[in-house]
Amino acid sequence: MSPHLIVLPVVLPLIAGVLLLRTRHGSPRTKRWLGVGATLALVVVSALLVDRASSGEIAYYALGDWQPPFGIVLVLDRLSALMVLLTSVLALGCVIFACGGDDEQGSNFHGLFQLQLMGINGAFLTGDLFNLFVFFEVLLLASYALLLHGGGKSRTQAAVHYVVLNLAGSSLFLIAVGTLYGATGTLNMADMAARIAELPAERSGLVTAGALLLLVVFGLKAAILPLYFWLPRAYAAAPAPVAALFAIMTKVGIYAILRVYSLVFGEQAGSLAALQQPWVWWLSLATLAVATLGVLAARDLRLLVAYLVLVSVGTLLAGLGMGSVEATGSLLYYLVHSTLVTGGLFLLAEMIGLQRGKAGTRIVRGRPLTQGGALSMLFMAGAVAVAGLPPLSGAIGKALLLDAASAEQQPWLWPLLLASGLGAIIALSRAGSTLFWRSQKGESDGEPLPRQQWVGVTLLLATSPLLVALAGPVSDYTRAAAEQLANPDAMVRTLLSDAGDAS
């Protein structure tokens, strides 16, 4: 297999994005084919990467052949391969959906979309703390423009908050990176892990400060409790395919927490090991509780789905806070499920809104839907999956997480997680019955929805039964990924042939 495969998830969207920006005045047809084609190619590449990583091999790609710790590296292990595959599958659904007409509401949709994919994939693959910052900026810049795609008052207002908050977050990120570099003298994460093991005691305060600042930054991206207030509004205001792609953006924050704290602040860090644990655990439970209230209070279908994203963030962070291999394995399974299903629900909410005319996505009585039968079936499937009812994938993910909790964690996690599921069931059944059953007055005059939108939504929601059918292999893989994360030595050894004698 070509050694250059690892860099393709970054280079492919970059080339496609540049080509698309060059042909921005071209016919929509060309742009759509190019966008869908590039995303399809990305799915193939990332499937090959998962195949390669599933053997447990840790591979790295040194850009310009500058060997680590000096050069910039992209690292492929089970976790990063999984995340890249997840991104590309989600993106495929979104981009097909966007071809149904959303992409022509503003300019440059497909180009920006590809650049955002480049940033996300880069953030998942990089093995360097500063490069993580650069890829965060790439994905944020593209997301700022995508959030404003199509324009409108609510989008502008949501974008002002989103942009200002993330710019402040970027400043914090740089301060944290600077502090860690000042204390350890390296930015390569594997090298930093090796050096922290031999850190002089007087510098541990500095490293702690840097590490917890990083947690604030990643928490802002992941939307943990005191830092989540930007999320519901931004996600509810964004155009549907963009909101669906944003479902992976909170997971970028979760991935970054998982990666940095398992690798750099793993067991070898001594007194600094797992210093994020108590913070993440308690804040995640609070996030879960608040998000459940948000789900129950939402009066708009898109806002409801945005709070469901927040519920999934709380659940995933609780898995992180448990800090065991089983918990990490099950949280990765839940992550795949929740990203794809909430993405699909965002798309579905848009389709329902399009057929209801003035009422839009607000949960009020309105005109009956033209294609209500098919839409309600999809809504039912998505609701069952996201609330965590059997037989769909949410139930398996939640059961794995509940099972992974240790005896002293169970009294906190079980009631909160189960209550959040109950809250989701109540809110979704209330929304569904208003949208589909109580909206019978008047004539339906909505246009039939374009075929691309059906394909995009079905693609994303169909992954839920697929995840059930393949639950065995998928959970084996995520479990193996968690074990690989719990043993950062292997990665340190692969990246630094002379690990241990860092000076």
């Binding site: 700022y144 502008t156 400043s171 740089l174 301060i175 570099y181």
Partner: protein, 116 residues
């Protein structure tokens, strides 16, 4: 020199933070700019401050750490682009919402509207 440097960075970030918390978009943008200056200064100093160091290693024992310089360059470029974007966004928000409050609040601007 260290204390002067530290005080400058601290004052810049304090001013930046204060301005970011203001209610109108113009001070917020200025605050973001000040904060990014502070961050750039901070990054610049993270390799340790040395005077009389060689820029390129030529056998001397004291030399300037080249990495922070590369990083600060990247951070400056990104910071400029982001400031430009934030300014345009603030103008767009002013146009779309009819006032320059960060949360689009109405009512508080009546006096200003009357003056025009």
């Amino acid at each position: 020199m260290e204390s002067l440097y530290a005080i400058t960075t601290g004052v810049l970030s304090a001013c930046g933070l204060y301005l970011i918390l203001r209610g109108r978009t113009f001070p917020v943008v200025v605050g973001l700019t000040l904060l990014s200056y502070a961050v750039n200064l901070f990054l610049f100093s993270m390799g340790g401050l040395t005077t009389d160091g060689a820029t390129i290693i030529d056998g001397k024992t004291t030399y300037a750490d080249p990495l922070p310089q590369a990083l600060v360059l990247t951070a400056i470029v990104i910071g400029f682009a982001m400031t430009a974007f934030a300014v345009i966004l603030a103008m767009r928000a002013r146009g779309d919402m009819g006032n320059d409050h960060v949360d689009g609040g109405r009512g508080r601007d009546e006096r200003e509207e009357n003056r025009r």
